[in-house]
């Protein structure tokens, strides 16, 4: 029994994702990076205020 998605012309190999799927995945990755960056910037602000860093 063969994979029915294998003959789908919109899928790109080697990953087998379609372009909208790849874009959606990328959007989540970028959003996660942005949330991580905001939390990290806040943590560095606290470190700057409450530790001897750069003083």
């Amino acid at each position: 029994m063969s994979d029915p998605t294998a003959s789908d012309p919109s899928r790109v190999w080697p990953t087998g994702l379609t372009e909208p799927e790849a874009q959606e995945l990328h959007r989540h990755l970028i959003q996660g990076t942005q949330i991580f960056g905001i939390i990290s910037a806040f943590a560095h602000l606290l470190a700057y205020i409450y530790s001897p860093w750069l003083k």
Binding site: V12, P14, T15, L17, E19, E21, A22, Q23, L25, H26, R27, L29, I30, F36, S51, P52, W53, K55
Partner: protein, 79 residues
Amino acid sequence: MIYGKVWLHVKPSVGIPLFLGAVAVTSFAVHVALVTQTTWLKRYLNGWNASKTAQIEQDVAQANVPPPVALASTTRNSQ
């Protein structure tokens, strides 16, 4: 979104752990370097802060501690 098509060529099961792992390893290395290569972070993490350190340094300076006996005798003998 630019670069989104990278996931057509790189398997997400490889690329995402690689990306997250690179971030984790890099940030861990930076923080290890800060602990090992600076003096203030180790002291801070052990409960010291800048004002406490400055206060103790000031107290030591004001105490006007005489030189150790061994050093004083060495100075006398050399004259």
